[in-house]
Symmetry: C3
Subunit: 444 residues, 3 copies
């Protein structure tokens, strides 16, 4: 089984440190769904894993949408009547509503006020607001700061551009022995928000780095793209190939202290759903399974009825279910290194099971084969067999081509690792062969 090096929490803690470093580097960047922020982010990721970048021109039609104009910003601030900068993009990338159109004006507070967004219930937090599809401008600030503003004329500057350009996404492909793919999707469009989405970017990067050093069965495709429009663009450009996707995961929100949460695919009983359920149940940590809903991240597109891909989503606390979500309070203080490590280990566990979860054919299906003469069974009878011998019996008994190793593990109550080891041993003595064509799958 692959990724054995990530099965221990200790090993994953070291990786969590690497993730943390990457997150610290990415945090200040002013990301949006297009523009230099995404490119700088991909630059940083690209130093750790090889990325193939795609630039899609503004205006390109993608299903019911089109690629938006590219947005970039140099500076953005508000000066009060005393010339004090009361809001400044330099201080926090959330201060500017994403996709704000350029403006340079002096306005009385009453006219400025509708362009100022705050969170009255959390008066020290800056909200996250976007206006991708309606040309508008706005600033976001703490409600306490907003309250302090006095009447008078305010100077407003947004030195942004919203012009034809490109939408940028990147892929890292880890070739496997099969052309069938395991798709891993993470969004890269949020500005200085830590759990959502820096944890997703960082853990996806590290998972890819480890898979690059393994010999997986599936081809793994990691996609780093802006949320929603990024997956729509990716699906539009890859429509002819999505039947290659045998499993998929959307990764994000993986560093907070909530239980690890798997959201099922729209299919509900896809292999990935069963594998993730097994990995969570056997992981020894708090976890929960939730049903698919069409609200969330890129699973909305990947699981739209016209695609219905077998893609689930792994988070800790889901979007919108923790108070700091989409505000400046989603910073490093709500992220925990041990939680990051546990999330990575869970990802690795899901991937390693999926990669090994073959169906087999018992080549001696009539009665049990004689294991003793092949060195696989103790020769003195009367006493109880051990776990390995039980696993041999289970794999032989169930391998009629219909049961996967996960099926065998679940039906027998034995661990997936024990069942996989038994399948290896039985293949070695020619009592078992994979149910699927040999050219597709290598021996793990």
């Amino acid at each position: 089984m692959i990724l054995q090096e990530l099965q221990s929490l200790e090993a994953c803690r070291a990786q969590a440190d690497a993730a943390w470093q990457l997150m610290e580097r990415l945090y200040p960047i002013c990301r949006s769904i297009t523009g230099e922020g995404v490119r700088k982010t991909l630059d940083a990721v690209g130093e750790l894993i090889p990325l193939q970048r795609t630039e899609v021109p503004s205006g390109t039609p993608v299903f019911d949408w089109e690629v938006p104009k590219e947005w970039n910003v140099r500076e953005a601030w508000v000066e009060d009547p005393n010339g004090r900068r009361v809001v400044d993009l330099q201080n926090h990338s959330l201060h500017l509503m994403s996709y704000s159109t350029p403006i340079r004006a002096t306005l009385p507070l009453a006219e400025l006020r509708p362009h100022l967004h705050s969170l009255p219930q959390n008066p020290t937090w800056i909200p996250y607001r976007t206006s991708y599809y309606k040309e508008d401008w706005g600033f976001c600030l703490a409600h306490d700061e907003l309250q302090k503003l006095q009447d008078g004329n305010y100077r407003v500057c947004i030195d942004s551009t919203l012009q034809p350009g490109h939408l940028t996404y990147a892929e890292c492909v880890v070739p496997g022995s099969s052309e069938q793919e395991f798709l891993i999707f993470t969004h890269v469009c949020h500005p200085s928000l830590c759990n959502d989405n820096l944890t997703g970017i960082a853990l996806t990067t590290l998972l890819a780095r480890h898979l690059l050093q393994s010999k997986p069965r599936f081809t793994y495709r990691f996609v780093f793209a802006p949320g929603t429009i990024g997956s729509i663009v990716w699906l539009a450009r890859n429509e002819a190939h999505v039947d290659r996707v045998r499993h998929g995961l959307v990764l994000g929100l993986l560093g907070d202290r909530g239980p690890i949460t798997y959201k099922r695919s729209r299919r509900g009983q896809a292999d990935i759903d069963r594998i993730a359920a097994y990995a969570l149940k056997s992981g020894g940590h708090a976890s929960r399974l939730i049903d698919f809903s069409p609200y969330g991240y890129d699973e909305r597109q990947l699981c739209s009825p016209g695609f219905n891909l077998p893609v689930g989503r792994l988070t800790r606390t889901p979007n919108n279910e923790y108070p700091q979500y989409h505000s400046s309070a989603d910073d490093f203080s709500i992220v925990d290194r041990d939680c990051l490590a546990e999330s990575l280990r869970t990802c690795a566990n899901i991937v390693s099971i999926a990669d090994r979860n073959d169906r087999y054919i018992n080549l001696s299906p009539k009665c049990e084969p004689r294991l003793g003469k092949r060195g696989l069974y103790r020769l003195t009878g009367g006493a109880h067999p051990g776990e390995f011998e039980h696993a041999l019996l289970w794999v032989l008994n169930q391998s009629d081509g219909s049961a996967s190793l996960l099926d065998v593990a679940e039906r027998s109550g034995l661990s997936f690792a024990a069942v996989a080891a038994a399948a290896d041993a039985l293949q070695n003595v020619a009592l078992l062969r994979p149910a699927e064509p040999a050219q597709s799958w290598s021996t793990a």
Copy 2:
């Protein structure tokens, strides 16, 4: 959605008053499975809704049965040795065993006694007895009265006729945009018994009256017929058309204070079973679901294996499960106006959901369509969408032609009404079309 005027309990209370009036008018009539009692009952119903009456001659073969002789009675009494009328049909229609053959005789008590029926365990109640298929005569009386009878000769008079005639039933048809039918069946053969069956007759009448004022999708067929033999006759005469029946309900016993009880069809998972279960669960009142059994009312015939129609039964307390059942104690005292109102509201709710429960095709199934540009989605991002936006996403995501709106409501946890409103909105912007042919179904 149709019948919105019956979704509030207040509106239904006014209807319960109308039902009560009809029940008071019908209560004294001596009904049986044939004869003038049925015709008088249909006369009264026919003043409220248009009825098409069918008269089927005695002797007509209907499957394993034949239409019985018609029975009518003018008077029936017993006089004790002192000339006192100790039992008299004039006092209560239950005093005479239904289908009693004519007799005029003087008998000693010992010979009369086997013809007298009482309920020793409820000595003040008159039992309800019939002898449709064995020619016999008998009287029913309170056990206390029976005990008082002294030896001596009794004069007995039953001035009845049991002769070739007709079996009578009536239908009220509410045409819909489709020829597919929703069948509603109620029995009209019980004499002065209030919960069973006057409540069924009255609420069925009022439900029909409301549907006549709506524009339903299904054609609604209300059948008022004697129990068992009436549904056998109706099925025999409509055998060629029963495949039109897409949903059905047997209504009766709807006024007592027990929980509203839905008995599943023989199929167990027919659409009507799921719709009724949803309506009961979301109705905010005590309710229960019970499985099909071949004992009960006309569902016995409608769900016989040769027909197996998708017909469930709605009652409050089922037949035979309340002590007053089939006795003179089943009178107005055990019927409650609020319970009648609640039963009517439940019927209306089931009907309105069934009538609206389409399956749809998402016309933009690859990725989400852009709702904002169609005015269906807020344009500033970052904050949580509301129930309507969630309902839009759910309907779009699930509408691959396989999921009904009820499926969407149940999977999403949203109300059926919210889901239906979303489907309307999406149809209006041409993002959705019904999965079934347009000529069958109108837009609700």
Copy 3:
């Protein structure tokens, strides 16, 4: 229904006494998977039921195995340095490891020691050990006795033969009206072990004796064979006919005081699985259902994926789950006559239900047929019908060819016996016919 004489616990107690006598006769015999011990055992069984014996030559290939050499032993003992026989086969057949090769030697304790097996945790019990597939020799003794052995030279004698010969098994066939078979398998290879396997041999014998006096629908085939290799040989010789097996049971370990335990077939939802579950639930005694696993007795072979026969297993406490298992403590003290009786009654109940569990076709499926004119229904209406009338309605309603009588019993909550009686009555008035061809099944 057949075997009604075994439906009462009292009747089964008398049979338990007969079982006990057979077990006492069989207990001292030194059985193994081949040899005279098996033949003597079959001699004793053959005095109670007719057996057809099969002798299969050593070396015969059977799937991945071959029939082993035949093993017999005349004497076997160990003498200590003082000439005292410290271990002697004459005292207990477990003292010799089964299939021990001949030896006659004098050895120091240190050399003898690896050949001595004991149970340190139960120091007064003799373990049961075998070495069928590795030529070796050994003795088994109580750990307390082992501890007492002092240094010095020991004389060892095993006067055994391990030579080409035969494997012996026997069958008792009870012909039924159908060629479809109910297979009952019990192993006959254990030496002086009482619950495992004398109780299985004895109850199987008595069950066969009773079936021989009945007129069953299925053909019943009872196989008495050594465990594992016996079922492998039987399957190899009967490979062409196993599709006749419609139900099957492996019997054994039926006398201890644990709850009656049914282990499902590999299929999990075969008819035998449902019948056994119903018999256990309705049996009025402690019982449990466990899932299939490929560890146990001959179900390992019968349910191997190349056969996957609908065969379950009935035991009380399963193999390996009671402390005395496979040791000299598995003697008469752990067997209880009432438990034997209860086990036999359960076997009889399963068999009688399976034999009667037809599917039927209602010959008057449109509406209910008129039962009153056929004398099957009370004629005065209004009162509640009894269990028999309910059973008639249920059988009529469900008999569309898909539901078995057990399905009807389970769905209705009525007893299987009541449902079967109703089916008989309905067949008698030509309202019902079996769903399967008449030549296969007689009327029970």
